[in-house]
Symmetry: C2
Subunit: 332 residues, 2 copies
């Protein structure tokens, strides 16, 4: 089934309105789920949509609540997400961070009691499109073992760093696990090995076999002990600044209800203007890309470049959507 951007967005919007979201919030959520799909991150786009609606139905995601500010001190604020839709909450906190950065140069918003924010790169792009830098992260259910352990008692805690640039924002969007379970399931389904070792098997050996890693629940943290440490640090700061849940408190339910998130926004255009900044970033990216490649078929990408390419291509040509999932969404 091939769909254009607006066709998929309209479908999402209709369903969101049916499930009691306001017209405005339905519009925003439909845009996010469609954008995630067209960015090539179907796992947090169309593939996740039925589960999102299920969370509405079972009450773990509240419809048409709003996040509320609970504490404020200068450029640092604490908000309560009131268990509203994760992407709506995150977008509002991003915008609040931008307001703080306009006023103080930098702003920090810590959010508790939210819900899964889907693809955080969306908020990175949103911030960068407005000319600001975003550093944000969330904690998650325990899905990554501490270094030296076989039991997942840390989160993969995705981190986004987004930098505005006219020629294409630089948007890093990465979890602390080397490969997501979604990606490993895809490789397993296609009976393929991972391109690099992605975890340990039950015997404790590094392996590129996704089935063995899924069975052991021992995905590899990025940089071995380094990613495991970064994961813990991000979890502590998110819980500490927001006064909300840490990974240890998050239920192991797929719904991941009530994570804590941090949004740090910086204004890079205060002491140098956008043109100068763009020129600087272009030079840095050109230098990075000028490195001699391993072989002629290899490309060097800046963070976010491939997502941008996916989106451009998919918007132009329409996106091929799995028939079963499309039907599932239609029948909601």
């Amino acid at each position: 089934m091939k769909l254009l951007f607006d066709e998929l967005k309209d479908l999402f919007k209709t369903k969101l309105i049916k499930y009691y979201f306001s017209d405005n919030n339905s519009e925003i959520l439909a845009e996010i789920f469609t954008d995630n799909t067209f960015a090539g991150v179907e796992s947090h786009g169309i593939n996740r949509f039925p589960f999102f609606i299920q969370c509405i139905e079972n009450g773990s995601v509240k419809v048409d609540t709003n996040p509320s500010q609970t504490h404020s001190f200068g450029a640092f604020e604490r908000w309560d997400g009131n268990y509203g839709a994760g992407p709506l909450n995150a977008l509002k906190m991003t915008d609040r961070g931008i307001e703080l950065a306009k006023q103080y140069g930098i702003g920090c918003v810590a959010l508790k009691n939210s819900n899964h924010w889907m693809r955080p790169g969306y908020f990175g792009r949103h911030t960068a499109d407005k000319g600001f830098i975003l550093i944000c992260w969330t904690n998650t259910i325990p899905n990554l073992p501490p270094w030296g352990a076989k039991e997942p008692k840390s989160g993969n805690n995705p981190l986004v760093i987004a930098i505005p640039r006219k020629g294409g924002n630089v948007v890093l969007d990465m979890a602390m696990s080397q490969f997501s379970y979604g990606k490993m399931l895809n490789f397993e389904g296609e009976e393929k090995k991972l391109p690099y070792p992605g975890g340990f098997d039950n015997e404790g050996n590094l392996t590129d076999d996704p089935a063995k890693i899924i069975a052991s629940q021992r995905p590899l943290p990025i940089g071995y002990w380094k990613g495991a440490s970064l994961s813990l640090a991000l979890d502590i700061i998110a819980a500490l600044l927001s006064g909300g849940r840490a990974t240890k408190d998050l239920s192991e339910s797929e719904g991941e209800k009530g994570p804590s998130q941090v949004f740090i926004v910086i204004n890079p255009n205060l002491f140098s203007n956008e043109l100068e900044n763009d020129e600087l970033i272009n030079e840095i990216v050109s230098y990075f890309k000028s490195a001699e490649v391993i072989d002629k078929t290899t490309n060097i990408y800046y963070p976010g470049e491939q997502v941008l390419n996916n989106k451009k291509k998919n918007i132009k040509e329409g996106i091929e959507v799995n028939d079963k999932i499309f039907l599932k969404v239609k029948e909601l």
Copy 2:
């Protein structure tokens, strides 16, 4: 040669005064070089001291200059390091960030024209000891290949995240390369393999042989493409916010003159008190450590725990220092 903390510190201080640092700055620098040594990071302590003095002599590190503020907007400031000693500049910027965080809840200081800051975990501990969170990083000379490249055109850009806790600060101090060249040289010297693959050989195969990685100049970024992307993002932000040099501009000299650095400080005690915060962190760390270990000889550490253990042990027992290096320092 076994030395107590104060013996080594006195030696450093005498030499620093001889090389024209003020008594006060000599005291601070001697403390940092000694602390780094006793923390078990000799590569940025005593082993580096002779090279630091060499940088004074050849003028790449200026004695008794001070960093100067060039721009200020609310909680975000730009400073010029004026090519002073990296550790002194970084400590001052950390303290300036703390002042901003006291006033605004969060503060950001971007520094250009500094010098190598040695072990950034020191500044993390310093900030955490005062009750604040520090997120800071530096860019470096090109020493890491972009993903897909064989040529180092990115930096290993060390990142520190420090969180205050009475029972032991949580201090992550990590570069974007899996193993530093210093560590690889140590393994090579002892004719040992790395514990995990740490880079590519000249044929492009992942290898745990340090000699092959040193020869190929292709150390592994943490998390493969993820660390390479994080490295680029940190470099761009450091150059952008400070108005200073990017990795592309940093000479390949060992002196690494003029890097750009970012210091973000957050006050975690505004909306919850230190006791509550300590309790929360203790719970998170306990949960993390409660994960079932691979085998009974394995320990799970929180970030910074091993450095703290090293320091306690070394302060109590004195530290064993390489005779040749000790003589080299004495003869300066």
